[in-house]
Symmetry: C2
């Protein structure tokens, strides 16, 4: 029952957003009564918090972190995730966007509890990529860039590309971004120490 409610809420928050999803709709589509819902989740906020912590975090883990751990390298991991998501989106024909980003935009400023929960997911996501890059470097493999910075760029470009894909209802921008990353950042000979230091001072 609790699981059923979470399933419906996850789907609804993803498809229509938090504010646009009414408790009445959730009750109806989940087939639960008001009392039952109120028993497991006293408030709408509690329900959303559970969705974030139990479902959104799991989705990021499944889509990004686990594939990243299993990939032969950070570069291959990023490439395979981008490609897999793009393929999946094109197959299903429409783009609902990234669950984390969808909720992050709507709820980050609405409530501090939401914001902290969402920020934590972003943080572990970025850290997982950074760890993989560090592991690559210690194993003597390429990618001379700073792990934290490249991880930030990977997360940001994916998130932004999903935003654009959702708005355009076209996943091809994901491939464009991946190719731009491949041609540049993820190539082994990228970057110069000189430029890096100049930039550091400029910022």
């Amino acid at each position: 029952m609790r699981k059923k409610v979470l399933d419906v809420a996850e789907e609804a928050f993803q498809a229509r957003g938090y504010h646009a999803s009414s408790m009445g709709d959730l009750m109806a589509t989940a087939g639960v009564t008001g009392g039952a819902l109120h028993h497991h989740f006293p408030t709408k906020k509690a329900l959303a918090l559970a969705v974030i912590e139990e479902r959104v975090a799991a989705a990021v883990e499944e889509t990004w972190i686990a594939p990243m751990r299993m990939a032969p390298s950070a570069r291959e991991g990023v490439r395979s995730v981008f490609a897999a998501v793009a393929a999946e989106l094109e197959q299903q024909g429409f783009v609902r966007g990234c669950p984390l980003n969808n909720l992050a935009h709507e709820l980050s400023l609405a409530d501090p509890d939401f914001r902290i929960a969402l920020a934590g997911i972003f943080s572990t996501w970025r850290q997982a990529i950074a760890d993989k890059i560090s592991a690559d470097q210690q194993a003597g493999r390429e990618l001379g860039a700073d792990p934290q910075r490249f991880a930030a760029l990977a997360v940001a470009s994916y998130s932004g590309a999903m935003s654009m894909a959702k708005t355009a209802q076209d996943a091809s921008v994901l491939r464009d971004c991946l190719m731009a990353l491949e041609q540049g950042v993820m190539s082994s000979k990228a970057g110069t120490r000189r430029r890096s230091r100049i930039l550091h001072r400029a910022l």
Copy 2:
């Protein structure tokens, strides 16, 4: 009066979102009566559409497109915009996010009219960057990457970085992304034909 309503609506949609902003609140803070508001904007949707077309588009033009046109090169333009936004956010102490992305996430799936209006802004934004890159290339300047792809990456990484910054309430991720871009994509010797072709086939 119409301007006043748009001012308040722009601010409210940006700070609290579309669904979380009630017409009553807008009327109160704008100091207009229901009749006046209904005269200029028959429905809430019409008001939001006006905000998107008149204000959000203008914000993107002012923040990104105009600086991009005036920049000596695409690379310099991207760098200066990232740096300027990061500096502005750190000065004001909090991050409200990108107006376009905020509304895009909430409204893209809610209504086709919203989605098309927002997609158009994304498109002109991306095209402005791509045009600048093409101009650079025709002027014999560096940046061998595909203009459309790099433009997509610039928009996506900025949008995603703003999402992360908004969620973390910390603008430093913008600098991280810019540095990663600088070290990789925006360096003149980036990328290899070989890898590029392999990738093309894989996707």
